[in-house]
């Protein structure tokens, strides 16, 4: 490749990256390392089996079943296994999930200061901003201010705890059950949950 060509190609990083990914997938298929369906299978698994709907089921169960909640807080991986959620992607960001419970005195937030670790099986893939360098740095430094920008005002007497998922552990938040939901079914409760609430950047609205 001549210098002129190199410059032209790297100048349009976008086209270059797209071509490189295509080339990589094509070579892997030609060499029989993956099939032409492999990537589609992975993506469809994420769309249908791994997502915030799993986290919502876990939280709703914890809200209606105090014993389950105890087990969840003690050993989330084992408690989640009781719910028979899909486990096909164990090993990729989902092996050691831990749950932090919000209380009137403690508000939990999950972050990943070094990259973008996130509990895929229970929350799906992280939103764009979770991976952003500025967001990651600011949330670590001034969580109260960042939460305020998200529309979540945490009173001064409530402690904010940050759970950094940089090690082998993926954190998720067990939000507080909102008032006025006493008569709701487990399914109705699950429908109230958003990924943001289970990340600690939103409250659950009844």
């Amino acid at each position: 490749m001549s210098d002129k060509k190199t410059f032209k190609y790297t100048a349009d990083r976008e086209i270059y990256s797209a071509a490189k990914v295509r080339a990589l997938e094509a070579l892997l298929i030609e060499k029989g390392i993956i099939s032409d369906k492999t990537v589609d299978k992975v993506l469809s698994f994420f769309e249908t089996e791994m997502g915030p709907f799993n986290g919502a089921k876990i939280v709703a169960r914890a809200w209606i079943d105090a014993d389950f909640k105890k087990r969840l807080l003690k050993d989330a991986t084992a408690a989640i296994a009781e719910l028979k959620l899909p486990a096909g992607m164990a090993g990729a960001e989902g092996e050691h999930i831990k749950v932090a419970e919000n209380t009137p005195k403690v508000h939990n937030v999950i972050i990943c200061t070094l990259c973008s670790c996130y509990p895929w099986p229970t929350l799906g893939l992280p939103p764009y901003w979770f991976k952003d360098p500025t967001f990651r740095a600011r949330m670590a430094r001034e969580p109260r201010a960042v939460l305020k920008e998200f529309g979540v005002n945490i009173p001064a007497d409530v402690e904010i705890k940050l759970w950094d998922s940089s090690a082998q552990i993926r954190w998720m938040v067990l939000p507080e059950r909102p008032a006025g939901t006493e008569g709701m079914s487990e399914k109705q409760l699950a429908a109230l949950l958003t990924p943001e609430a289970m990340m600690g950047v939103a409250k659950v609205a009844a």
Partner: protein, 125 residues
């Protein structure tokens, strides 16, 4: 789907306030190749070509390298570029695909793209 989040991210970085993001963020890739490179990294790990932890370490390294020589709000930030770089290094390091072979295939694809663009331009004028 993600517009609100991106809007939030952009405005919060400028110091402006925005209405709280409340959308259900699920699987969403802005560009087609993001999804492909995401799926490739997982597929190769699931097949045992490397441990997922190796990929994670590579991704962290690639992100740290970028952050070390850019301002955090540099508009050139691109998460999936970091992801691709981490994957490329692992694929070459584990002798899954030869680095030169990948380069040469990429170049071939780019040349055929360029040829198409030139052809389209000529037929349009």
């Amino acid at each position: 789907m993600q517009t609100k989040f991106e809007h939030f991210a952009a405005t919060s970085m400028m110091g402006a306030q925005d209405s709280p993001p409340r959308e259900n963020g699920t699987l969403c890739f802005d560009r087609d190749w993001e999804g492909r490179v995401f799926g490739l990294a997982i597929a190769l790990s699931k097949q045992g070509h490397y441990d997922w932890e190796d990929f994670r370490q590579g991704l962290m390294g690639s992100i740290a390298e970028w952050e070390a020589c850019h301002a955090l709000d540099d508009s050139g930030w691109d998460y999936y570029q970091r992801w691709l770089q981490a994957l490329e290094r692992l694929v070459a390091g584990h002798d899954i695909i030869d680095e030169k072979e990948l380069e040469s295939r990429t170049e071939t694809l780019l040349e055929s793209l360029q040829a198409c663009a030139v052809k389209a331009e000529n037929s349009g004028s």
